[in-house]
Point group: C3
């Protein structure tokens, strides 16, 4: 059974649902690591809707930045850990560090933590590079960074999927 | 032979051409349901180009909102019905109703009509969620809604495809 | 072994890396045709990073517009030619010619040159039509044009791929 699973796809393409299904195949209890923070009503609503969908099997941990530490803390306490989502984490890190290189270093550190952790990990990410090149320079930096991070994380994974209209295609 | 076929993909990725080819495999006469309205010259040109490509086998019906009624009316009169496209229909409905929930209810009603109708139906949709998150709140609502609708419709379909550069990948 | 290979995908999805790997399977020397011009620091940095990644096996030719002439000149001198990327070439041509139809004529001429040239050619393109419809009319024209060009070029190719998070899916 795969230990590190990477899932990418567009907005509302069924990534989280697939991730939850895969996590539940490992049994319970399960840990859901939310990288999104409820900074406004729209965001709070999305988080609440996701939480309501998951049952009692899940414990939710909110961590916008320090995924490595969360992985150390939850290690061995759950049958599987789901991180949702990598793209928001990247966005939080870029906001914090300011440069793409600093963020990619954090991604590389996370990959080392993933290799050490024995618990199955499911990473949910987003494909954000299939639209028109953004006019905004920061959006271009973020788009490139999100793509680079996806490439590094998919390479470090045992299994990878991309979802379309709720249906996964297996990448590896 | 599949009865409900769902096709998604990016702009100009060969979705309509695939849909027409699949519809023509059912014989004729065929019904083309256009959800786009020629509100400006750009749109009128697109509609005319699509129409010119289809031959005499096709009859075109224009309906921006009430797809359920169109399906009732065309029932049994054609070998297959092609709806092009779902994303514009969603956009028209959001403009009319104002809330995502009201639009999703219309999607659920359409799915019931599809289940009752015996004529093969080919639904053309669009993938709009693989770019950068839009700054505009309405665009975000629309993007999420289009994704949710695609997920519901693909689930209700017997066959589904995503197209890239004119080439379909079978999703189910 | 395929002679014309077409690769599409989102920004930073591993297209160039795949293209380089495929080209290197033909042996050396190899020709890299860059359609991007270093008009600003951001662009210069990207070009330098790509160039640094490729080894001594590669010679780089910069040509923003006249790909047909480049193909004539390099003919028979390399084991394979990599064009990176078609989407920038399309953008350069649209800027030069002003209309989509003129650009599509250039694409059709390129396809004839590809058919005559005996050297293996690898074309790197981009998927730009899977985001929200751009508000800007020129961006919409470009997006449609890029999609149409991808469709024509993929059809003329012996092999085609789409990449996600560094992993290729074979289209044909």
């Amino acid at each position: 059974m795969a230990r590190i699973i990477f899932i990418t796809g567009g907005a509302r393409s069924g990534k989280s649902r697939l991730a939850e299904k895969l996590a539940e195949s490992f049994g319970g209890p399960l840990c859901y690591v939310a990288t999104g923070e409820a900074r406004d009503a729209e965001m709070a609503e999305r988080i609440a809707a996701h939480k309501a969908r998951r049952g009692e099997t899940w414990q939710t941990v909110e961590e916008p930045l320090n995924l490595q530490e969360v992985l150390r803390e939850v290690h061995g306490r759950y049958k599987a850990v789901l991180v949702d989502c990598i793209t928001l984490w990247i966005s939080n890190l870029l906001f914090r560090h300011g440069t793409a290189e600093a963020v990619l270093n954090e991604v590389r550190t996370l990959i080392k933590s993933l290799a050490e952790c024995q618990t199955p990990i499911i990473l949910v990410s987003n494909e954000v590079g299939m639209g028109i090149v953004p006019e905004n320079a920061l959006a271009r930096t973020f788009r490139d960074l999100a793509g680079n991070a996806n490439e590094l994380l998919a390479e470090a994974s045992d299994e990878a999927y991309v979802t379309f209209s709720g249906i996964p295609l297996k990448l590896k």
